[in-house]
């Protein structure tokens, strides 16, 4: 059993930098949890505290039900892939992969078979006799993953392992890693600042900002029902449209037009709210329909599979996706339709 439980963890550094404030998180056995957030949000600090490289100011870490807060990294049953791979330059690929097994005094035959198994999984069998300096970036990354897999640990930690790869390779490795980790069934914690990676790979995503976890949910929930405007803006490309509006008796008024609300949710007329709607949940038409918002087209960006249209609504702006053949141009007056049930109300960013 490899459930990871972080409770009330706080960590600050000399100089007054507060990296984490009272952070708690539970990763269930076998789950792929992504820690997502911008630079400086604390995701790497949290990972390092789980790994045991740093000691928290307060709080505990438990792995598999065991409190490991005071344990050194080697006693936590972990494997880790670093952003820069951290391959040992003075050892051949085989010895790099075998390092952990050797340190645990694994018998020779078991060691050989586990190293070969891991290198087959990562398709690097032909590279075993080389040194890291003789490998390409993509190959080094595979060796780093193989080294972690060979340990057959219950928990795998990954610190932005794909960041140093070029875009095409990253796409390839993303899918491969996802399939691989599903097969291996280890509990995985994956740190990234790339929301596409997070959505694609995670069972659940913990969105972090300024030392706090804002929301922990599955990818679709984080995408469709963000809990605050930061999450709404961080997830998805383009970010969720956020419009200022005022609650009225019939719904919420945005720039003089009223949108229907499904869940008024304890709000009273006159309350100021942020209305969140995804670009794909908006439609553009040249004819007016009931409930549609009037606007003027500012920019049309053809993105290959669809058009991204930026439309000015009153003093605010929204981005809408339309089919490629929707022939709209700048400065046209159009009407924006809102897909029923897709309106979200969000508190403003703190």
């Amino acid at each position: 059993m490899a459930e990871i439980r972080v409770e009330n963890m706080t960590k600050s550094y000399p100089g007054g930098v507060v990296a984490l404030t009272d952070v708690s998180l539970t990763v269930t056995d076998g789950e792929f949890m992504v820690l997502l957030g911008p630079s400086g949000c604390g995701k790497t600090t949290l990972l390092r505290l789980i790994a045991g490289f740093e000691v928290p100011d307060s709080g505990t870490v438990s792995i598999g039900g065991r409190d490991v807060t005071d344990e050194p990294p080697r006693r936590r049953g972990l494997a880790m892939v670093f952003q820069s791979y951290a391959l040992f330059p003075h050892l051949k690929v085989f010895d790099n992969i075998a390092f952990g097994l050797r340190m645990h005094h694994t018998p020779r035959e078991t060691l050989q078979s586990q190293v070969h198994q891991a290198s087959e999984l990562m398709e690097i069998q032909t590279l075993l006799g080389r040194y890291p300096s003789q490998l390409s970036g993509g190959q080094r990354q595979r060796v780093a993953v193989a080294r972690a897999l060979a340990m057959k640990a219950d928990v795998i930690l990954m610190d932005e392992p794909l960041s140093n790869l070029d875009a095409l390779l990253r796409l390839q490795m993303r899918a491969e890693l996802k399939r691989l980790l599903q097969e291996v069934q280890a509990t995985t914690i994956y740190v990234t600042h790339d929301q596409v990676e997070a959505l694609s790979m995670g069972d659940r995503i913990a969105v972090m900002r300024a030392g706090e976890i804002l929301q922990v949910d599955g990818p679709m929930a984080v995408y469709d029902r963000p809990r605050d405007s930061f999450v709404a803006g961080f997830i998805g490309s383009p970010p969720m449209n956020l419009l200022e509006g005022e609650v009225s008796a019939e719904g919420v008024a945005v720039e003089g037009n009223t949108l229907a609300l499904d869940e008024p949710d304890g709000l009273r007329p006159g309350d100021h709210v942020l209305v969140g709607i995804r670009a794909e949940n908006l439609g553009v038409s040249r004819t007016r329909s009931s409930g549609a918002l009037p606007g003027r087209v500012r920019v049309v960006e053809p993105l290959g599979s669809h058009l991204l249209v930026t439309i000015k609504v009153g003093n605010q702006q929204v981005k809408v996706t339309t089919p490629v053949d929707f022939g709209v141009h700048g400065d046209e007056d159009v009407w924006i339709m809102v897909k029923p049930g897709s309106v979200r109300l969000l508190p403003a960013m703190r």
Partner: protein
């Protein structure tokens, strides 16, 4: 159309200047050594020749054997080697952990510690050796190989500490972390990952310590009577020794350091070759 200038031609005079200076410096070092060597291996009469033949045809081991068989020289040579080796070992054993601390941790007083270490070098060995002699007499270290080795270690420690710190800084800390996750303690990580990768730089530090100890004369002179190191022994005999003795002595004093450097060369070159760890 882009007109390409000829960059190689443009830097040629600068390059030639650089080469010229390099050649001059080399000559400045090599010529005296060469002259000493040919004099050390010249026939006795030829030593007094002036001007000296630049490419002597007659080689003789007279002077060198005279030197080596002079009473006290061979034991002094042995002692110099011993002191040198002890100095290297102690300097590394004490210096590397300190260097590691400076490289990996930021702690209060880190800068002060480095400053203090460097300031030890401000004192001439001659000045330090006299009160040291008094203390060593009390501690029964006076006139011993260990006493001189301790002085030399103290003199070379600032360099060992700072050199090893700069070497360790170039080995990425992530490598230690990777090793620790894989099953070793921090000490194990240092022994299995950091040290193997630091060999070139530490070899340079070892070389430095050895040569420092081998050449050191004033401290050794004051701290010894019967158990002199080679430089001290030669200095004592200098005023009453004939010319061949002096040349042979000069050669004997410089040759071992050269041998040491020769063996260290491969390690030194890779020490200058770039960042370790990525």
């Amino acid at each position: 159309m882009i007109v390409r200038s000829a960059p190689r031609r443009r830097t040629s005079p600068e390059r030639m200047l650089a080469y010229g200076v390099a050649v001059l410096l080399t000559l400045f070092m090599i010529v005296p050594l060469y002259l000493i060597t040919i004099a050390a291996f010249a026939q006795r009469a030829a030593v007094f020749d002036y001007p000296r033949a630049l490419f002597p045809t007659q080689v003789s081991l007279e002077s060198v054997s005279f030197f080596l068989t002079t009473h006290g020289i061979l034991p002094a040579l042995e002692r110099s080697l011993l002191v040198g080796l002890i100095t290297v070992v102690l300097s590394l054993l004490l210096g590397c952990p300190a260097g590691y601390a400076i490289a990996r941790y930021s702690f209060k007083g880190r800068d002060l510690a480095q400053l203090l270490l460097l300031s030890v070098r401000m004192f001439p060995a001659l000045v330090l050796a006299i009160p040291l002699a008094v203390t060593f007499i009390e501690w029964r270290l006076f006139d011993t190989v260990w006493g001189v080795a301790f002085l030399h270690t103290a003199m070379s420690l600032p360099f060992t500490v700072l050199l090893s710190a700069s070497v360790f800084v170039r080995v990425s800390g992530e490598l230690e972390e990777a090793a620790m996750i894989l099953g070793v303690s921090r000490v194990g990580a240092v022994l299995r990952v950091v040290l193997p990768l630091s060999v070139p730089g530490l070899a340079a530090a070892a070389l430095f310590s050895f040569v420092l100890s081998w050449n050191e004369v004033f401290g050794a002179l004051i701290l010894t009577r019967q158990s002199a190191t080679l430089p001290a022994q030669v200095v004592q005999a200098l005023s009453v020794s004939p010319l061949p003795f002096r040349f042979a002595g000069g050669f004997a004093l410089t040759a071992p350091a050269f041998v040491f450097i020769y063996f260290m060369r491969p390690y030194l070159f890779s020490a200058f070759r770039g960042v370790v760890g990525h």
